[in-house]
């Protein structure tokens, strides 16, 4: 079973990963976006950590994720703010008010979060968006957290030959081909850190 502390650790690990990879995310966003994905997410996750520290009321898994999602919506801006915010908020909502959740419940809640992202963005896998990492990643959760991290990583890499159909990269048409999608890359980071926290190295 996973408690609120587990989800706090996930958010802290995600924030650390975003900080580590911010320059790379911005670099990926440069040829097909507007070169700010890393700095925007860093601003958001820094605020998430601050919110979690000052909000002791977030005492359940659902509350931790909902607070994190609301904070991202309130600080990131652009498309990433609403999309990442919705992912965490809807996942948190689906987890309900239990003090502890099972891995199966988390898997189901994340599926609902991903579905909400797809609906909000009007996108589907293959459009060269964060869904290309999230959908295979969450599907692989049935196997293990590590499998989910790896599948989302593969999904992000698979966006390279795709032609973008959503978001700012879509305006490039054919010229979006050959670049890895920054949103899929950061989504893979998020699921990768979930794997790190759930199955620490050595415990595999």
């Amino acid at each position: 079973m996973r408690d609120a502390e587990f989800f706090r650790r996930w958010m802290v690990a995600a924030a650390a990963a975003v900080e580590r990879e911010a320059d790379r995310l911005t670099e990926l966003d440069s040829p097909i976006g507007d070169a700010d994905h890393g700095s925007n997410l860093l601003r958001g996750f820094t605020a998430v950590i601050a919110a979690l520290e000052t909000e002791p009321t977030a005492a359940t898994p659902g509350a931790v994720l909902q607070l994190s999602g609301r904070t991202l919506i309130g600080t990131v801006g652009g498309a990433s703010g609403p999309l990442y915010g919705t992912l965490l908020r809807r996942t948190g909502k689906a987890l309900g008010e239990s003090a502890e959740v099972s891995d199966a419940e988390l898997r189901e809640a994340l599926s609902q979060g991903v579905a909400a992202v797809a609906q909000l963005g009007g996108a589907a896998p293959g459009d060269k968006t964060m869904l290309d990492a999230l959908v295979p990643g969450v599907a692989a959760l049935g196997t293990s957290y590590r499998a989910a991290g790896n599948a989302s990583q593969d999904g992000a890499l698979a966006t390279v030959p795709m032609r973008a159909r959503k978001g700012r990269a879509s305006y490039l048409g054919e010229r979006s081909i050959g670049h890895q999608d920054p949103g899929a890359t950061s989504s893979a980071l998020l699921l990768g850190t979930l794997a790190d926290v759930a199955e620490p190295a050595g415990a595999r």
């Binding site: 911005t26 040829p31 507007d34 700010d36 700095s39 309130g74 703010g81 159909r165 879509s170 305006y171």
Partner: protein
Amino acid sequence: MTMLINSPQTVVTDALRGMAAAHPELDVDVERRVVARRDARSGGRVGVVSGGGSGHEPLHAGFVGYGMLSAACLGEVFTSPVPEQMVRAAAAVDSGQGVLFVVKNYTGDVLNFEMAAELAEEDGLRIERVLVDDDVAVTDSLFTAGRRGTGATLFVEKIAGAAAEEGAPLERVAALARQVDACSRSFGVALSACTTPAKGSPTFDLPDGELELGIGIHGEPGRERRPMMSAREIAEVAVGAVLEELAQIGPADGPVLALVNGMGATPLLELYGFHAEVARVLAERGVPVARALVGNYVTSLDMAGCSVTLCRADEEVLRLWDAPVRTAALRWGL
């Protein structure tokens, strides 16, 4: 770093502090990044609120004032503001007549304003939204996020603001705004990429002697790259592309509002020269220009280049265009 800034993290708030110092007639909330008319709630008018990423100055904060926007909210450079700012702006200017959100069609702006509208309506405000999507360079809109919102934003904000100033109800202000958007088309050209403060280097690589046709306003590359062309040739391509799509909207011989807009780094000397070519092409094609505006209004940081926006205008739109306006960046008739 060759920019006149303190740090990439503070460019937006620093600019707002300067705006507050230069324009005491504006209510500038530096912390929350909302700029509003001081008298926004006193007239019993519909509120007209817009916003978007920074880097497009004077859009949007420069258009806050009598006869135009009631308030604007600013995001980070090229990044949409967040719903909280929009809700705050709407609440600050609502006098019970409702608020129109003017939203440029970019995924981030659309999503954040959508969330903001929901939240504001939960707070009891009446909200209407108009989506500005005028950029003809995006032809294949089935496979993109749709046409981008660019130069027509100025037309929509001016006409909606003038109608609100006259006391038109929310539904009418929104209908006029939608009409102006539906009757407007734009085409942009970049002669150089722009430099975002966060990155500190050009956002894409455009070699000397080449230009990008069909750009948006975020430093994103366009639909085609060509060897450098003369102002005369660029005007032929840009006006041609705009007229081709405008022909599907209304009578080809109706009068238009024309905006020749600089992207930030192109001097007025060049913009006026370009406008001469735009006016020539329009005259040759038998399109009467009712009003023309030339200058840097919807910019893309330090990008060199320009855009052409044309709006088919009926008599009421022309009348509202001529109505007095007093903002930091646009003023006449007072």
